[in-house]
Subunit: 388 residues, 2 copies
Amino acid sequence: MRQVAILGVAMTKFGVLEKTNLEMFAEAGLEAIALSNLEPKDMEALYFGNCLGDFEEGQMHMAPFAHAELGLPVGVPATRFESACATATVAIRHAALLVGSGVYDVVLAGGTERACAMGTPLATRTFAMGHHAQHESTAGLTFPGVFAMAAHIYSEKYKVPLKELKRNMAEVAVKNHFHGAMNPKAHFQKEIDVDTVLDGMMVADPLQLFDCCPFSDGAAAVVVAEAGKARDLVKKPVYIGGMGQASAGPLYLQKDLSRVMAREASIAQAYRESGLGPDDVDVVELHDCFTIAEILALESFGLYEFGKAYDAAAKRETYLGGRVVVNPSGGLKAKGHPIGATGAAQVTEIVEQLRGESGPRQVEGARVGLVDTLGGDFGTICNIVLRN
Amino acid sequence: MRQVAILGVAMTKFGVLEKTNLEMFAEAGLEAIALSNLEPKDMEALYFGNCLGDFEEGQMHMAPFAHAELGLPVGVPATRFESACATATVAIRHAALLVGSGVYDVVLAGGTERACAMGTPLATRTFAMGHHAQHESTAGLTFPGVFAMAAHIYSEKYKVPLKELKRNMAEVAVKNHFHGAMNPKAHFQKEIDVDTVLDGMMVADPLQLFDCCPFSDGAAAVVVAEAGKARDLVKKPVYIGGMGQASAGPLYLQKDLSRVMAREASIAQAYRESGLGPDDVDVVELHDCFTIAEILALESFGLYEFGKAYDAAAKRETYLGGRVVVNPSGGLKAKGHPIGATGAAQVTEIVEQLRGESGPRQVEGARVGLVDTLGGDFGTICNIVLRN
């Protein structure tokens, strides 16, 4: 495999936008191409992520239309990926695999989602189709419900009283809002405190409103290229060290909701490929769809022992300036979560961090970053280790 | 790139089935694995196609659930593709690219669709989301409408009177039903005559009911492996000679509906990669979603000059025993069209033909076969050249 680099990265503002998926993706894609000192005609393929365009805009088969919006040549294939929330990460992984293996030299990858125009009730119902429809959705399963169960199991298994766990989960939200307040692209740019979380509306006990990430509109895109070419084009390419992707089926096959099997398989692959491990990681963008999810992820990465990550935010270890900075972008919680775009926005943040371009939220001396995206209720995980 | 082979291939019966997408895909997938003399645990990745599971069954993120249904290990990534009707072909192409480049040695690829339970009106409305939603669906565009326009343009451009063109289009349907009557997996296994077509209900002038393929339920899957490994496992592996995939955006960017730009780019790539050309092709499975579509495709392949393929079926040149056999399976027209499965069923037919296993519809001495799948209204084309 050839060495693979990320060149230009770009994302729209995340939030409630009055733009179509194609408009948002074109904005991010064209900016990523321009920042790579390339033109649309230089792209050799488009790896495009979107989850529910058919419900959002009555649009299936969005990839060739995104291709047209970007002005790519006819010979350039445009391929849509859908892996629930892990959609864009899976698209980027495939772009990198095909560049690494010499099929392509330069590929645009990313994703878009326009959830807000549906309104929260319909967005909630449609995205809940990421559960197993026959056996689990019909039983009333929801994503907050799954992560609420995980929180209860965590509390029980590690003997962390629920009240203590809730306060520590709230600290995760406080941290990610603190970081998001420094991110001009974030959906929410306002700090909160622990009481904001603990006084919030109950969603699925013990998860309250501020334990949950929002639905957002937005798009993000990155240019993936062979490393030699990348070095000719941009001053600071960031390299893909290793990647992992794993699948664990529906919820009823998970053995223990406090351990995400697919993540453990995926991160092991990403570490092995990169020759790096948890001690090397300076900065992480991980899938904090709910506050408890951040805690579980940190343990699967080996950044904390199992049962020990719950108070990492409270101890400020995962804050800017802490021992490993987690979700400096604000994470899904504050930066926002346009489902099909999320993974590409995570890569965007890590690449900018490793280039030292993150302004007030720069992780000093960041050399190795980790991207983590979870699709559905533990069904898909995709990880990318990036390095200078 | 390493040489890539197809081992086991399998498809469910196509038609109106009382089965879920996961049940159908598991049936096809497990059979394809068994016919490869392998077990599910030997698969290193799953490339899975489905278009509208969210409307069909309230199921997004179907790939990891298909993975679980097949009993694949957790470390094996399952990835969903959606390229409208070209979905499964695009999934198989990516499986082959990743095997060819050494990322994987053995991959399962295919697709499934369950359109019939929605009923024709809802199926028609949902699959019409493959048009450009903002600019074209809102204008009332339908797939029969697009191909009806193509037929009018063909008639005008090549001075083939519409009445004559219609009779010749009917001959395409007659041929594909003739072939389908020999295929025990086909949705329709009954011969028809030209009058059946010309007496049919008008759908979109000049397309009548029997000019149009049906919605079907069904799944198909193939095992893709490195050629050396394939030779150890099965007696008659069939090799991938070359592949193409291209995108041409929405209908408003097509210059001439009698020429499918994306197909011309895609087939050129597939021929170039394979070192083969139209003179080498013995058998074709192509995208006859409408009878006129078969005529257009034959011309893009270079099997006929532009404006000359319209009477190929009437002259019996594309029948079993003709100079190039087209859609011996019955094609989308008679075998049926479960959207997300279609490309994998086309590959299944060509592989069986090249192995000499097609029974009464065997193309004698078939050595080179071509797969062609069109997604949307000319937005995506994927081609695969297979050979002994």
